[in-house]
């Protein structure tokens, strides 16, 4: 996503493909991450469209139920590990060194490795589609014993997850080291932009929980191939323990997917409201408390496994508590907009869309926290609607907002505002058309992960499928717009946005290939 000017000042660097393979430059690696996420977004999107085609009408039309299950599983893995996480890591690579006034990432060589692991991991994961016994079909949650019924794909799945984990750990360590050690003089922690803060906390979460996932999937592997019985009830193991392990990783993971979006939105709203962010300190504390709470709410994904009453009550209360810091954030954004002087360029539209639809997802999250009601919601389309509301118009919209916001900075060219706005409105309309009806079918009793359904769910499934195709095609506009902007366009100024503040806007557009080093002025 960058057309970086040729470096004439420092050492020669290789050109062509070798430049990208050997690069240790944070901007190049950021670009690689973002393009990788973009490719995976379309692959994962195609899988979603297979799912939605099959669900267009009751009855089995296109795919075998086993393949359908593979699609739901792979769609989730690709979208989570291949799109949202790399996209945010890409943004972090591009922006964090610039935002803290550092010359590059702290560990540039490791940065290169952590990216180049990803294509290998995903080739491995996607190759399982062509294996005997099919791709993994036990859901991305990999619950045993079902996941152990996977065919030849199983070890590939586990190693792919290991590599993805390794890549995110290396990325996270690098980001932590950069934020801690590479700040410019005067850039104290409480002066850092919120995007940097949210990433610091995200990286902390990643480092804390990734070993849990790695250990968990390794135990699945030994259960299948080496005769251990960690999760095998017949051998004295405990299948529920895997769920505890998985969600102990999984719940912080969902905040890993959303916290950087908070940072992005906290950068964009003040820019276009031309007014400083309301409650900077409380935003930081709210992010930190969300991160803390994420460690003690994991079992709300497991209300129906039959935990003791005390456990259910504890996890219900802890989960409800998350609404408080999340609420603080939403209130702060709205108050930032209040009495500002707003304009509505594409990044702002996406950010506002984020706030509205993320909040809707938050509301359904609150409903899901109520244990007795969760018995009715659990594993239905209501849950599907909930997490897609926080992930698609949540994380994905934030990533798109970030792309529009920084694209002029990255490329030096302005994007087409008309195309951007078209993209926003189509995306918003179709995303709601896709996911809002899912609330209804969920409440009416449709379970998730089924390839076929009873007739009473037909209407809304049809609407959702139409929405999904619309949303998918709308994203082609995004791709076209980005390529067009890279190739050329009106030159962007250094400031780009009238109300923008932060070190990145003091650099030229595009910023020089090497290092920051215009004298950072930190107020």
């Amino acid at each position: 996503m960058s057309s970086v000017v040729k470096d004439e000042h420092h050492d020669e660097h290789p050109s062509g493909i070798m430049r990208w393979i050997t690069t240790t430059n944070h901007k190049d690696i950021g670009t690689l991450y973002l393009w990788f996420a973009m490719i995976m977004f379309f692959i994962g999107g195609l899988m979603a469209l297979v799912i939605r085609s099959e669900l267009f009408q009751p009855g089995l039309q296109f795919v075998d139920p086993q393949f359908f299950n593979s699609m739901t599983t792979m769609h989730a893995l690709v979208m989570i590990f291949g799109v949202v996480m790399p996209a945010f890591t890409g943004l972090a690579n591009w922006m964090i060194p610039i935002m803290v006034g550092g010359p590059d990432m702290a560990l540039p060589r490791m940065n290169n490795w952590s990216f180049w692991i990803m294509p290998f991991a995903f080739s491995m994961l996607l190759s399982t589609l062509f294996m005997d016994g099919g791709a993994p079909a036990g859901g991305w949650t990999l619950y045993p014993p079902l996941s152990l019924q996977t065919g030849d794909a199983f070890p590939f799945l586990i190693f792919a997850i290991h590599f993805m984990g390794l890549s995110s750990i290396m990325g996270a360590i690098n980001i932590v080291a950069t934020i801690l050690n590479m700040r410019a003089p005067g850039m104290t922690l409480m002066k850092m932009p919120l995007f940097v803060w949210t990433w610091l906390i995200t990286a902390f979460l990643l480092i804390a929980v990734m070993p849990v996932l790695a250990g968990g999937v390794t135990m699945l592997l030994t259960d299948k191939f080496f005769g251990t019985s960690f999760f095998n009830a017949a051998g004295g193991g405990d299948p529920v323990m895997f769920q505890h392990i998985f969600w102990f990783f999984g719940h912080p993971e969902v905040y890993i997917l959303i916290l950087p979006s908070f940072g992005v939105v906290s950068a964009i709203i003040p820019t276009f409201a031309r007014k400083p962010l309301f409650g900077y300190a409380s935003m930081v504390y709210a992010t930190a408390s969300i991160a803390f709470l994420s460690f003690i709410v994991w079992a709300h994904h497991m209300f129906t496994v039959g935990m003791p009453l005390a456990g259910e009550v504890f996890f219900m209360f802890a989960t409800m508590l998350i609404a408080v810091p999340t609420g603080v954030k939403v209130f702060n954004w709205v108050t930032t907009m209040w009495k500002g002087a707003m304009t509505f360029e594409t990044p702002m539209l996406f950010a506002i869309g984020f706030i509205v639809m993320f909040t809707i997802g938050g509301f359904s999250g609150l409903m899901l926290a109520i244990t007795p009601a969760d018995f009715q919601y659990h594993d239905t389309y209501f849950v599907v609607a909930h997490f897609h509301y926080v992930l698609v118009p949540g994380s994905i919209f934030a990533i798109m907002a970030a792309c529009y916001y920084w694209l002029p900075k990255w490329t030096g060219n302005m994007y087409s505002e008309t195309l951007g706005k078209t993209h926003f409105w189509l995306s918003t309309i179709f995303v709601n058309l896709t996911f809002f009806p899912m609330h209804f079918v969920g409440l009416a009793g449709m379970p998730r992960r089924i390839p076929d359904y009873s007739l009473q769910f037909a209407d809304y499934n049809m609407i959702a499928s139409i929405g999904a195709f619309g949303f998918g095609f709308a994203q082609l506009i995004f791709l076209y717009l980005i390529i067009k902007t890279i190739k050329g366009g009106t030159k962007a100024t250094d400031q780009v946005w009238e109300g923008a503040e932060g070190l990145e806007w003091t650099l030229s557009s595009p910023p020089p290939y090497h290092s920051f080093n215009t004298p950072p002025v930190i107020k």
Partner: protein, 155 residues
């Protein structure tokens, strides 16, 4: 960061900015270490001991990354100027490279970047040999350093 000492000779110690002290790095590491191991041990208690080695490996990686980063940031250059000589020592962990020349021939040159946004480059030139100084600094500091050095050589 530039430290300036004046005694028998004038000494400039040039270090990159390290925004977190070694102590701060250690505290951060031990917080993460503690959190990771509380988690890993709790699972080990429940029989799920395979998380422990992964947590251990990860902590080794984190620890070495922070250490490496700190070492990289604690390399320094020392410029000594006395009556007759100018010497520059480059200290990179345990390696020390010294470059010396007559003060009379020494010349500090600050090259302006060709493009806006690029850093300035400060070199010491003497009898056709050239060495870069202050690559570890931010641009603002480098300009300041150039001024200080030039003043001292000219005297």
């Amino acid at each position: 960061m530039i430290q300036y000492k004046e005694g028998e000779f004038k000494e400039f110690i040039i270090k990159p900015n390290n925004s977190l002290s070694w102590k701060g790095n250690k505290i951060f590491f031990f917080i993460l270490f503690f959190v990771s191991f509380v988690i890993a041990f709790s699972f080990a208690m429940a029989g799920m001991w395979l998380i422990l080695p992964f947590a251990g490996l990860e902590m080794i990686l984190l620890g070495s990354a922070l250490t490496f980063c700190y070492i990289k940031n604690s390399q320094c250059e020392i410029v000594k100027i006395d009556e007759k000589n100018v010497s520059v020592s480059l200290i990179k962990s345990r390696n020390k490279k010294v470059f010396g020349c007559r003060k009379y021939w020494a010349k500090f040159i600050l090259n302006k970047p060709r493009l806006k946004g690029y850093p300035h480059k400060l070199v010491l030139r003497s009898a056709g040999r050239e060495m870069e100084i202050g690559a570890l600094l931010t641009d603002e500091e480098r300009i300041k350093l150039a001024g200080m050095l030039k003043k001292n050589v000219e005297q």
